[in-house]
């Protein structure tokens, strides 16, 4: 590990209340959960903060719970717990599919959904799923609770609306009726970070079938694609929808892929999603 570890300090809250007080009174603190992103940055010296808040033992933030029609996923729930969860497999299979493609087993055992949301990478694998699911991020601070829809959670590249004294405590996911779909395109099935990642829902609504679609690694933030959705929902052809999609995304060249490749794959993936429109679950 680079940097002098002795300059760093770890705060160990015994409860969520404790943690929220520490964030309010002793900040700025970097919250630590499974450390699968944080320790990569620390090991390579790209992160310089000195003071950390260990959330790992706050078991009240762990687990998946049905609250009527809503599914509440605690922020510390690991990908392994998501993969193994019967209720996730039944009600949110696209999230289980995303969790299975994150890292290898070692990462799935430590990485958490709250960490994926907080890390705010445009390539975060669960983020298109949460966007397409109309998920709500539940934030807690010593001052109270705030509920922010995923669609307004990200404000810019690795920026969120969360304040330094707030913790992500859960994601709430409303019931979904219809077909769910997830695809990740990377260099390798395990371990590789997404070149492009997509989640979609063909929702069986009373007024007919309504699509919801979100993509990662195509813009500075993970994106819902409302214009493409509107076109698809309004009966546009695939070619028309693909043209609108190209205006909605803004991919770049980076170490994993090129803007041109991402545009081509985004169009192809839209084709796959389009072909599922008449397939009822």
């Amino acid at each position: 590990m680079q940097g002098t570890i002795l300059e760093r300090q770890l705060l160990e809250p015994r409860s969520l209340t404790d943690a929220l007080k520490m964030l309010r009174d002793e900040g700025p603190l970097v919250p630590m959960a499974g450390c699968t992103d944080l320790y990569v940055a620390l090991n390579f010296g790209t992160l310089q903060p000195k003071r950390f808040l260990n959330l790992w033992n706050l078991d009240t933030l762990r687990g998946i719970e049905s609250r009527g029609a809503t599914l509440r996923i605690g922020a510390l729930t690991t990908y392994t717990e998501i993969i193994k969860s019967g209720v996730i497999r039944r009600r949110l299979p696209m999230l289980a599919a995303a969790a299975r493609e994150i890292g290898g087993v070692q990462i799935q055992n430590r990485g958490t959904i709250g960490g994926n949301v907080a890390n705010a990478s445009p390539a975060g694998d669960t983020l298109p799923v949460l966007l397409a699911a109309d998920a709500v991020v539940v934030l807690r601070s010593a001052a109270g609770t705030r509920r922010v829809p995923m669609t307004s959670f990200y404000t810019g590249y690795r920026q969120t609306v969360a304040r330094p004294d707030e913790l992500i405590v859960a994601c709430d996911i409303p019931a979904i009726r219809g077909r769910q779909w997830f695809r990740k395109v990377g260099t390798r099935a395990a371990q590789a970070i997404a070149k492009i990642v997509v989640a979609g829902v063909w929702e069986n609504a009373r007024a007919g079938v309504r699509p919801r679609l979100a993509m990662g690694s195509v813009a500075p933030v993970p994106l819902r694609l409302p214009q493409t959705e509107e076109a698809l929902g309004g009966g546009a052809s695939l070619a028309e929808a693909q043209e609108i999609l190209q205006r909605e995304i803004a991919p770049i060249d980076d170490l994993r892929s090129t803007a041109g490749y991402r545009r081509q794959v985004a169009a192809n993936l839209l084709g796959q999603f389009f072909s599922l429109r008449s397939v009822r679950l």
Binding site: M1, L10, T36, F44, F52, T80, Q106
Partner: protein
């Protein structure tokens, strides 16, 4: 700080943010666990925490207090997986081997080939092409009456 490593209680002076990998190698003298990439991609540093594989390069030691930690040394040298890797060419240069074996040890006594592939997907090997590793794990499988031991932390 007290840790349970390979069924022994050890006292370490490590900083709570020290990597489990460094504490095992430098304070406990357990150098079987290797550092490969240092970013959770290669799995060379895999150890078991409460029976589950983790990358010890990404785990602060503060997060494993009160858990059972198992490293390659804890398997003793004649574990069914260790014997099978020797007999079936599962180890070549050897740097991935402790991590491979620890990840495989978490799969139970009779994993299917599919379970082995998925369970070892987080462990990279640049020598074997994986086929010899899968053969080794398959060969190590025991029946419920077999004498092979499962890794216990």
């Amino acid at each position: 700080m007290r840790l349970n490593v390979n069924r022994k209680i050890v006292t370490v002076k490590a900083h709570p943010l020290a990597r489990l990998l460094d504490v095992l190698r430098e304070e406990c003298g357990l150098t079987g666990t290797k550092e490969g990439c240092g970013e959770g991609e290669c799995g060379a540093c895999t150890v078991l925490v409460d029976g589950e594989p983790v990358n010890s390069c990404l785990v602060p030691v503060a997060q494993v207090q009160g858990t059972r930690i198992a490293t390659i040394e804890g398997l003793g040298g004649t574990h069914r997986l260790q014997r099978a890797f020797v007999e079936h060419g599962g180890a070549q240069c050897g740097i991935c081997t402790p991590g491979m074996i620890m990840a495989a040890a978490a799969l139970g006594r009779r994993p299917s080939l599919d379970e082995i592939r998925t369970g070892l997907a987080g462990n990279l090997c640049r020598c074997t092409g994986y086929a010899a590793i899968y053969r080794s794990v398959l060969a190590s499988r025991t029946t419920s009456k077999g004498k092979g031991q499962r890794a216990k932390a």
